[in-house]
Every structure is written in C-alpha cells, then in structure tokens.
C-alpha cells in the first residue's frame, strides 16, 4: 500500500488550536451559573478537558501547513470534536438526575444538533425545574457559535489559519463558494462575524425593549438573551418548552425579520453598508429568496385563513382560533414559512395541528434552505436558482442545438464546472435523503418504534437540512427522544454532513483522498 498522502498531523493539530479556544465561550455559562448560584462543575470540567485536549492535539505538528486536502479533514474533524466536547456539560449536569441527557448518545445528539444549528432536541422536559439556567444557556450558545461557523470564527481570530483560510471557509460556509469581501481572508471572516454579532445585539435590544414596554411579559432578560442566540444562526433551540408560542404576538412579529436576515447572504449586509441598499434589489438570489417566501407565505396564509389549514385537535390554550382571522393566519403563516425555509425551526404554534396540505407545504420548505453565505441549511436558494436557470437553458438548446448560452446569475456568467457541482450536490442531497428515509424506516421498524411516512421524511429532511422539528411524533413541541440509539447516531451523522454540505465529509470516505 502506498503511504498516506494527507498531512493529517497538521490538520489535527489545527483542530487542537480551535478546540482549546472553546474554553472562552464556556465562560458565559460559568458566569451565569455563578450568578444563579447553580452548579459550575459541568462547565469548569469541560473547560479543563477542552484546553488539555486542544493543547495535546496541537503537539502533533510544530508548524501546521494546510493544503486543500487538509482543509477538508480539519473542518470535518473540528465539527466532530467540538460536538463531542459539547456533550460533556450535558452528561455531567444530568448525571444522577432524571435528565435524558445523562445518556451520552442523547447528549451527543443534543450537542451536534446545537452546533450544526439544527434545533432537534432529545430533552425529555425543557424546564428550569429539570435543567439549570446555565445549561440551557450553553445549549443556546452552541447554536450561536455554530451559526456563522466555528472555523470562520477561528479564521477571523487565529493568524496561523490565514493562509489556508479561504479553503477552510469554502469547506465550511454554506453555499457554493465564498465571496471575499476584502483582500485578506481574516478580514472577510471578521466582517461576517461583526455583522452577525450586530444583528444578534439588535434583536436582543428589540426583544428586551418590548418586554420593558409591556408587550412581552415573559420575555425577561434571560429569554431576551437566549433567543437572539438561536435566531441569527437559524438554530431554533428555545429554553421555553413551547418554543415561540410561549410569547406574545408582538415578539413573534419581531422575530420574523431576524429569521429572514439570518437566511440572507451576510456579505450583502456588508456591501449594503459599504455601498447602498440597492444591493438587495440587484441581487438575484435575494430577490428569489424574498419572492419565494412571499409566495409560500401567501399560500399558507390562505390555507390557514380559509380553515383548510388547522385541524381542531389539541390547540393550546393560549393559541386563539385562526380561521377567519387575518392577522393570526398571516402571522403564523409568515412565521412558520420563514422558520422552515431559513431552517431555523422555531414554532409560533404547534403546526402538528395543521392539516396535511399545510404540512406538506412546510416539508417542501425544508428543502429550500437559506441563501449562500447565510447561516441557513438545506440545499440553498442559489442552487435552486441555478438549477432552474440551467434547466431553462436545456429547454432552449433542445430547440436550438447550436446555441451557446451560458447561465447568468446577476449579470455574471457561471462556469460550467460550478453548475455541474451544483447539480451533483443537489442530486447527492436528494439521494442521501431517500436512502436515509429507507434506512431510518428499517431501523425504527426493527426497534419497534413505528412512524408514518411523513414523519420519517420530516425526520430526515429536518436533520440533514439542519431544520429541527418535524411532524407528528417529532413535531415542534415534541422530541426525538423515542428513537433508538442507533437511529440517533445516524441522525447525528446526517446533521454533521448536512452542516458541512456533504462533500467535505464524504470526500474523506474515498480512497483517492488518502492515497493518490
């Protein structure tokens, strides 16, 4: 056998560098735990573990040098390592209590779901009686860290990553290719994180402002911090068991634009700030994104308003009847479409109570995804746009075989290789989806946990697309707890490859990657 052609030492050593810095964000839950007089042990232990692990991995190479191959390995491993370290607080905090997270598999599921901004949960009961404020805040914080990308953050602050940085960001950032905003990749990464941080702070101010003004009685300081942390990364975790349903209509209206922002290409905000606001109307992806959400929301609002939408079963007490009420149908429709299309996963009410047409509309939304360069998951708007345009081109060249017509996106022509890559990704995504549905169906049947087809499809679409909630047994107010450990581990894998857009992980599984 030929020797390994990948410099895995460099890659792993850089994973170590990132890992040791994970101790920094752990300070926040630690401080909160002190403030509330709660147990600090889970966080203190995790800090020690992550620093020790990080420093020891760093020893693997004195002068890590990143190439294209190492970038894939480093990014994939970073996400796996961070998710593994992230399980420690859950396990320690849950040890000896009734918490479902004491089980390491559940803890890993929760941690991976957090960092990949999926928002699927296996917590048996989300309440402050069972879990400390600090732990639930850590759960929110994992999503915020994962949103704009841990590696992007690392590129922004670690000088040793500046050379291979573009490849790292390319491997991690959602969408085909990255857009450099400045000649230096670190400056680009910083710009993205600054925009991200800015919007998070803005949402906090608005939510807390609503609370102070008396429009949001239960949006206290803790909730006003916790929710922006999972809105901007399109995460979807909430320390409230009933998600955003627990809050007033005003809070729901305020969160909608922030979900839309989270699903937008962050480079656009930077350019809008630099140039002017017209970059939005000129950007074809943004126009398609806004238009599609508008159409889907209108259809859903129509379904809800006419009463075709919601069934009458198990509507919660604080959710008023929707049919015939324009504001409520519009609010729930826009909220839910924004939440699902951007892959956030919040729920303004239990959409399990909605009829099948409405639920299938949401299932469709799970495949759309956010824009390239956003924090959203799934297939992404830009890919759909390119696919639609190139299919139109195919139709045209069927009639005129000699015509040479490049696919254009916002005035720029797309390279044929880029188009091929987009087709390949989308096809692979759909193949993985269908194969996974079948595998999950077999595995659930084997373990005696029976689900309907819609539920199975939603479970896969929601984990692979980093959406979060599904339908039925895994609806927005329920959890993934009842799946067997093997099914959960399978979904951990799906969330992992979904966040990294499949290729960086899948390429590691080929022989050519290691040997040739």
């Amino acid at each position: 056998m030929s020797r390994i052609r990948v410099d895995w030492r460099s890659a792993t050593s850089l994973v170590g560098s990132v890992l040791k810095y994970l101790a920094v964000p752990l300070v926040l839950p630690l401080v909160v735990a002190l403030g509330y007089g709660q147990d600090v042990v889970p966080f203190a232990v995790t800090m020690i573990v992550t620093v020790l692990l990080g420093v020891s991995l760093e020893q693997l190479s004195d002068d890590p040098d990143l190439g294209a191959r190492e970038a894939f390995l480093m990014v994939s491993l970073t996400w796996l390592a961070v998710a593994l370290v992230g399980t420690i607080p859950y396990v320690i905090a849950g040890w000896g209590t009734q918490s479902t997270l004491a089980n390491p598999v559940n803890a890993l599921f929760e941690s991976m779901s957090g960092f990949t901004t999926t928002g699927a949960t296996v917590m048996g009961a989300i309440s402050f009686d069972r879990h400390s404020h600090a732990l639930l805040l850590w759960r929110q914080l994992t999503q915020w860290l994962g949103g704009m990308g841990i590696v992007v953050l690392a590129v922004a602050i670690l000088p040793e990553l500046s050379v291979g940085g573009a490849q790292l960001m390319d491997a991690e950032a959602p969408g085909p290719g990255i857009e450099k905003l400045s000649p230096r990749i670190a400056a680009t990464a910083r710009a993205l994180w600054i925009a991200y941080l800015g919007f998070t702070v803005l949402e906090f101010c608005l939510l807390y402002g609503l609370h102070q003004a008396g429009y949001a009685p239960n949006m206290d300081l803790y909730n006003a911090v916790a929710h922006p942390l999972t809105t901007l990364p399109t995460g979807g975790f909430s320390p409230e068991a009933r998600s955003i349903e627990a809050f007033s209509a005003a809070v729901q209206w305020v969160i909608i634009p922030f979900m839309v922002v989270a699903g937008t290409n962050f480079a656009l905000f930077w350019r809008a700030f630099d140039e002017d606001g017209r970059v939005f109307s000129k950007d074809s992806e943004f126009r398609f994104y806004a238009g599609l959400m508008g159409v889907l929301s209108a259809v859903l609002a129509g379904l809800l308003f006419s009463g075709v939408g919601p069934g009458l079963a198990t509507v919660a007490d604080n959710v008023l009847p929707i049919p015939g009420n324009a504001e409520r149908s519009l609010r729930h429709a826009v909220f839910q479409i924004a939440s699902i299309v951007t892959t956030t996963g919040y729920a303004s009410m239990d959409f399990n109570t909605w009829s099948q047409p409405a639920q299938y509309l949401l299932l469709f939304g799970m495949f759309v995804g956010g824009s390239a360069g956003s924090t959203g998951g799934a297939i992404k708007i830009v890919r759909w746009l390119v696919i639609i345009k190139s299919l139109k081109r195919e139709l045209f060249t069927t009639i005129h075989p000699e015509a040479v017509s490049p696919v254009r996106l916002g005035g720029r022509t797309l390279d044929e290789r880029a188009i091929r890559g987009i087709y390949a990704f989308t096809l692979l995504y759909l193949v993985i989806f269908f194969v996974s549905v079948a595998l999950l169906a077999v595995n659930t049947a084997r373990t005696g946990y029976s689900l309907e087809v819609l539920e199975l499809m939603a479970a896969i679409a929601a984990t692979l697309g980093n959406v979060g909630p599904g339908f039925g047994a895994i609806g927005p107010m329920n959890s993934y707890l009842d799946f067997s450990s093997s099914s959960k581990l399978f979904m951990v894998f799906l969330m992992w490859i979904g966040r990294l857009e499949i290729f960086p992980v899948l390429v590691l599984l080929t022989q050519a990657y290691w040997r040739s």
């Binding site: 000699e402 040479v404 490049p406 022509t413």
Partner: protein, 445 residues
C-alpha cells in the same frame, strides 16, 4: 500645416491623398517599395523607416510637425509612435488608429493616454457604420449631425422604388427633408426641381431623424419597415461590437461563431444575443434556424471571401438584406455588384474619420460622399459672417455652385431651410458641398 503620416497602407495613402492638396505631408513606412510608389502617386515626401524610432521621426522633422497620424495595421506600433512623437514635440497633435477597442476604452477613460490626442477605433467605427446602415432599410450610408437631430442618408434607388423616374419636385413630398445630391455613375449631381431620379441613382437626403426614416420606408422596396431580426455571421471584433450595439438598441440579434471557446466567450459577454456554434455555410443548420426569414445578415468573418460566401448564401436562402465587411478596399464595388447590398470597408471608414478630423476649418462634423466627391458638413454661423440676417435665396448667391442647404437647427429646434428662411447667428447649418468648393464655402460662415 505639416502632417506626418506613419503607415502607408490603404488608410495612410488615402489620408495622404486627401491632405496633399492643402498641406505639407510626410509619409513614413517601413516598406521601401511602398514608399517609392507613393512618392510618385501623391505629392508627398515619403521616408522609409520605423515610425516608432526616434531616428525616423527626427528625419521626418517631427519637431516642426503640427500633426502626426499613426495609421499602420498594428495597434501597438501606432500607440508607441504617438508616444515617441510626443517626447520630441509635445505640441504635435497625434492621431492614432487602433483596432482593439480596449485601447479606445482606456483612451476615453483618460484622454491623452498613450500620448494620443485623438483615437479612431477601427472595429468600433465599422460596427457603428453597420448598425446605422441596418437601422435604415435600403440606406447605404448614414451620418448624424447636431447631436443626432439632423441625419444624412444615402440610398440606392432601384427600379421598383416608387420615386424612380420621378422628378425631384414630385418626389419632394416629405416634410423636413431636403434632396441634397444625386450620385449617378460615380458623379455627383446637384439636383434642381426638374432633375429626374433614375433607377440605380444614389440619393443623398438631409433631414430630421423621423423624416429620413419615413423616407427610407417609402423608397425601400421591402415590406418591413423596422428590421428586427438580425443575424451576424462571424464573431470577429467587428461582429461582436455590432451585436453589442444592436443589443443596446433593444434588438436581440443572433450570432454564429465556429470556434467553440470563442463562441462561449462571446455568449458570456453578450447577454442579449443568441450565440450559436456552427459553420455559417452549413445549409442544413441555416435552414433549421429559418435564416430565410431574417431581415438583415451581417457577414463579419475574418476573411473577405468567406464573408462574401456567407452573405450570398443567406441571401439565396431568402434573407432580406446582406451587409458584409470587406477588408480589401478594391472589393467593395465587386461585392455590391454580385449581390451584397452594402459592403462596409473598415479602412475606408477609418480614413474618412481621420480625414474629417484633420480638415482645418470650422466645420464640426463631416460626412464624405462617394470617395471624396462631395461632403456633408455641419457649420455654426458666426456673428461676423456676411450671411447673417439674409434669406437663403440671397445667401446662396454668395456661395459657390454646388452648395445645398440641407437643414438648419436653431436653439435645438429643427428648421426646414426654404428660400425665405433668414440665417441667424449661432444657427447650425448642415450643407451638402461639392468637393472642390469646400474651403470656399466654409469661409463664408
């Protein structure tokens, strides 16, 4: 004025010939034979040498020259020549001919770049000529004056045209339009009311944009008034710019290019054009694409013979008009004789443009009719002009024979010149002038 012309090819020789009468002309060329033959043909001083070298330019006494015209076939040589000349004589006005439009763009972006004071982009100029010819059905030549308010157009009248056989008086039923001249068998005729228009005459009309268009529709024997379906054969630089200019007019032309990679490049930079990768002589392809229904075919291939073939084939399949780019000047008449409707010669267009620019007089814009036999010029009436305050009927007495008032614009309004129209200061007058009397006529304004 002392003029140095570098490059004695078709363009250079043609310019030299038109300037030799009234100016001291020195021609520089690297080819000894060409230099020698030119010296005998035209009254100029011819020098053999590299125009880009200090030595040759000094020999041509560039230090005393008022103008340098770089008109070789090579863009870089022309630019270097201008730059070199400027180092010796910064006051010398430099004119450069370039093919590649990228140089023209740089120069427009920063005037004076490369040490060039005036740049003529051959390919762009040719494309512009083609596009204006396409714009008017049946027109052979089109030129705009006074910011586009006044147009001059030249039409070939065929025997089926409604005005063939009519007198000027009968034909003159278009508002704001003047019949300025007729070209019959290569000679320019200044018509009066009783002159009869014959088939195969070329009519030069001057008028407002609308009236010229209306006239074009009237005299053309084709049914369609506005050509919308244009096919460009060949993705040469001229073909590309023609497509681009047509796109900017809201048309959606088709362009055929044979080379795979080049077709892709063209398609990328021409969003409004349907680019096809094929051979323009592939009959089956042409029929499949319904070339027979095309209004205008523009043949702009790199090779004259191929352009001719493509143009004729398209005509044979039923295309309405064929315009072809002809690189060799002597082929122009031949092409038009065998069935190409309009043959456009980039060299001729370039030479005309440069000659226009070099004429030292008050004229603001000049169009040259039928190889220098007549000119259409635009002049602003000076306060001191003896013609101010007099009606045209009287003014024309002071002007030499062969001058026709084509159009007048006053305060940006179009004024139809009649016998009793009184000339005022600052009027813009568009005149049709016979070749020999240009200097004499313009002096009066």
């Amino acid at each position: 004025m002392r003029v140095v012309i570098v490059g004695a090819g078709e363009v250079g020789s043609s310019i030299a010939a038109s300037l030799a009468d009234s100016h001291e002309v020195v021609v520089v060329d690297i080819d000894r034979d060409r230099v020698e033959s030119l010296q005998y043909e035209v009254d100029v001083l011819a020098i053999q040498g590299d125009g880009g070298s200090l030595e040759t330019l000094e020999e041509a006494e560039i230090a005393d020259a008022d103008m340098l015209i770089a008109s070789t076939d090579d863009d870089e040589t022309n630019l270097v020549t201008c730059g070199t000349a400027k180092t010796i004589n910064p006051d010398c006005f430099t004119i450069s001919r370039v093919k590649n439009t990228k140089f023209l763009e740089t120069w427009r972006h920063a005037e004076g770049a490369f040490g060039v004071d005036f740049m003529v982009g051959t390919n762009l100029l040719t494309a512009q000529t083609i596009v204006s010819v396409i714009g008017l059905p049946a027109a052979n030549d089109v030129e705009s004056f006074v910011g586009g308010r006044v147009q001059m157009a030249e039409f070939r009248i065929d025997s089926e045209s409604p005005i063939a056989g009519q007198t000027i008086q009968e034909a003159d039923r278009f508002e704001s339009l003047t019949f300025a001249g007729l070209v019959r068998d290569g000679d320019v005729i200044i018509p009066d009311g009783s002159t009869r228009i014959q088939a195969d005459d070329e009519v030069v009309v001057i008028g407002s944009r609308d009236s010229v268009r209306q006239f074009a529709t009237e005299v053309s024997t084709t049914d369609e008034d506005d050509p919308s379906d244009v096919l460009i054969v060949g993705g040469s630089d001229i073909g590309f710019h023609t497509a681009r200019l047509l796109e900017s007019r809201g048309l959606k032309p088709r362009l055929i290019e044979r080379n795979h990679d080049h077709a892709r490049e063209l398609a990328e930079s021409l969003p409004g054009t349907t680019v096809m990768e094929s051979d323009a002589t592939d009959r089956e392809f042409l029929e499949r694409e319904h070339i027979g229904e095309v209004d205008v075919v523009v043949a702009a291939l790199d090779n004259d013979e191929k352009s001719l073939l493509a143009g004729l084939l398209a005509k044979r399949l039923g295309a309405e008009r064929a315009v072809a780019v002809v690189d060799a000047g002597e082929y122009v008449d031949l092409f038009e004789a065998v069935g190409i409707d309009v043959a456009v010669n980039p060299r001729e267009a370039t030479a005309e443009e440069i000659t226009r620019f070099t004429r030292e007089r008050k004229a603001e814009n000049v169009a040259i009719i039928e190889h220098d036999q007549a000119e259409v010029i635009e002049i602003e009436v000076d306060t001191a002009s003896p013609l101010v305050g007099r009606p045209i009927r009287e003014a024309i007495q002071d002007l030499p024979d062969g001058v026709v008032f084509g159009a007048i614009t006053r305060d940006d309004e179009y004024v139809v010149p009649r016998g009793d129209t009184i000339l005022e200061t600052d009027d813009h007058v568009v005149l049709f002038v016979g070749a020999g009397v240009v200097e004499q006529a313009t002096g009066q304004f």
